[in-house]
Symmetry: C2
């Protein structure tokens, strides 16, 4: 492991500035807009929702990733998702990018836009534009500014989510800083709800794209809060090259070091998002080992963390392991139910729960103790091959229902 | 429509007897075992869970459907699912059928067994055998006996579920009576949790099989409570021929009349199960019309009724229609989001909610009133073709979490 975690978020890497502000979009007395800005142009890559109903900012950002050589800024608002808003919604999105571009002195198609919140409502464009003006004035390359931005993009999140690492590449210190938000309508498919990764690495667009697309398969795409794939899922990575390492244009040791550090950042945020799922009291992890194929390992792990019944049992600290077996069984993967072993894991300790086709003689009391922790891990040994995968979710609580029964008011 | 609904359940058709009894398997002072018996041998067909983790009674029943020419009885217990119980569990299942066969004077492989309840626990076989003895003595061809059986197979169900119809076929009165149970781990795939259909029609095994396999695609397979496909899903249909109609051995008017009546029975029970889903306060129906293919219509309708976020909004009587659009969008079906219309339906009235790519100008107050009813219907017009499908689910409430956080204790 050649990287090391450092204190910081989106402003950790050289040349990145950020800010958050109160634009009064939906909530009062709460920061609800953020900016991320790079003093130098960035090569960019991204992954976006697979939902055919795509929010206006997703359509806008996809176009930038596909057609702009460089981008330099991101403007995010919370409160309104700008999804299912027709031509008017896309116009508002463009006006947001246009105003930011004017003030920053960059083309509008170098400005990404992100929105999250209620689907169907139109943005209050005057307040958005006023917010952009405040953000451009306030942006700064400070530790605090990164945190402020990560707080401004929260909706039902209970904690802000940011992380940073340093890694030495070609003798130069490369930094990757990032932030993301959850915490409902989280079942990313090619991407997470909103995630922004800012790095000063010098890398080609092609290799940056390759790195992020490979990465999400085992990070953001392996989490779920409620099985609902959002209309707004957006993960963007911006690289401004200010670390001055020799440009990465192919695979090799430098690329490996970067992807390893990147995977720490994405997995860190993915786990934070799962553990902070709406109403969650615990992070629920499922590790599948010795599966026949990598894809089957992923499907099995994800089926378990998506099971409503299993999630409710975790909330109740109830070792109802039959529900885990059931979720493995309906995942679509073929296997012999008598051939697998199931454990609950607590640190270095494995508690043997199911094997030889039936429940094992474990202590319910000890199982309940393990299931009462903030991080609950189920380990499934398929005994079919050598592939593994891990998925992260959360428990299903009264508060999930409460938050979502009346989200709009 | 050539059939008519009549009062009754599994004992409505000629020659069918039933009973329920207290065997003390898990609950006290509650009937927890049932029998259904036909005085004449029945041709049988069934559909079973697609979960690769299959309970012992599912394995047993599948074998009877595949290899026995006739069957004549069903023994059901609640409290313990007899799933993930290894060889011991299958032995208990066989001993149950064996004892019933001895007492009824029929081969053991003419006795279906059904179990529902906690996964992983072993059956208390002595109590099961004692229960079988009581059931065989008590069985009767009365209206009340049918209801008693339908009550004895309930677990977290709040109402028993039975239905009967009469239909004239070849000048003879044919009766179909049925019962089923929900109400958690309900996301049938080829079948429902437990459902038993008893008819006196004279029909070949081949045509009976064809009828039930076609039927479930639009009835039981179109409901979901929580997305968890059970290990025990079993739907059986038994036909003893006592109606004395000319034997149905091919498609034609008689077969059509039968399948039409059968579909009323299965749809009736499917809707009852969805509306009585664990913790449910409302039946949530999604009708998709004018889809390009039948399969896409089914996928779209089912995606909507499975969305946790939509279900929570229904519980909150909140017209958060963006979540319906979102669920259509991640279903996997390709379509143009600007091309569809969404309505809420109340009797003959359609409230236009979304069209032309954006929300319509409807009254939130009226929408809330519609969403506060016990039966909430969303209608999606895809404008892509001529195919339609309907799916049924329920809302997601605090009580769902409560019931499932501590189901085992």
């Amino acid at each position: 492991m050649s990287y090391r975690q450092i204190d910081g978020g989106v402003t950790a890497a050289k040349g990145f500035e950020a800010a958050g502000t109160e634009a009064g979009i939906k909530y009062e007395n709460r920061k609800d807009m953020a900016i991320v800005y790079s003093t130098s142009p960035c090569v960019c890559a991204g992954t976006f929702t697979s939902n055919v109903v795509k929010a206006a900012p997703v359509v806008w950002d996809m176009d930038i990733v596909d057609n702009s050589e460089y981008a330099q800024a991101v403007i995010v608002n919370t409160g309104i998702a700008n999804a299912c808003t027709g031509k008017e919604g896309l116009d508002y999105c463009i006006r947001t990018a246009e105003r930011a571009g004017e003030l920053l002195g960059i083309p509008r198609n170098a400005v990404f836009v992100g929105s999250t919140g209620v689907i169907g409502a139109q943005l209050p464009i005057d307040r958005i534009v006023a917010g952009v003006e405040k953000l451009v004035k306030a942006k700064a390359h400070t530790r605090e500014a990164g945190t402020e931005a990560s707080r401004a993009i929260m909706t039902t999140d209970t904690i802000n989510k940011e992380v940073a690492v340093e890694v030495t590449i070609g003798g130069k210190t490369v930094t990757i800083g990032a932030m993301s938000k959850g915490s409902g309508m989280i079942h990313p498919n090619m991407c997470t709800m909103l995630g922004y990764i800012c790095t000063d690495i010098n890398i080609s667009k092609e290799m940056l794209t390759k790195a992020i697309k490979a990465d999400v398969k085992d990070s953001f795409n392996m989490i779920s809060v409620d099985g609902d794939t959002s209309t707004n899922d957006t993960l963007l990575i911006m690289a401004n090259g200010l670390a001055e390492n020799e440009r990465i244009t192919a695979e090799g040791a430098d690329y490996e070091a970067f992807t390893e550090a990147l995977n720490f950042v994405t997995t860190y945020l993915a786990k934070k998002m799962a553990g902070d799922g709406e109403g969650a009291t615990a992070l629920f992890e499922c590790r599948v080992i010795n599966a026949d194929t990598k894809e089957n390992a992923r499907i099995l792990a994800k089926s378990v963390i998506c099971s409503s019944l299993t999630k409710a049992a975790i909330f109740g600290h109830d070792a109802n392991w039959g529900r885990i077996l059931c979720a493995l069984g309906y995942s679509g993967v073929k296997f012999d139910p008598e051939g697998l072993d199931l454990y609950f894991v607590d640190g270095d300790r494995r508690m043997f729960i199911y094997g030889d086709g039936k429940g094992q003689d474990y202590s319910e009391e000890e199982a309940t103790a393990i299931l009462s922790k903030e991080h609950v891990t189920a380990l499934v040994d398929m005994h079919m091959g050598y592939e593994k995968a891990t998925a992260w979710g959360c428990d299903l609580s009264y508060d999930y229902v409460k938050i979502n029964a009346d989200y709009r008011s």
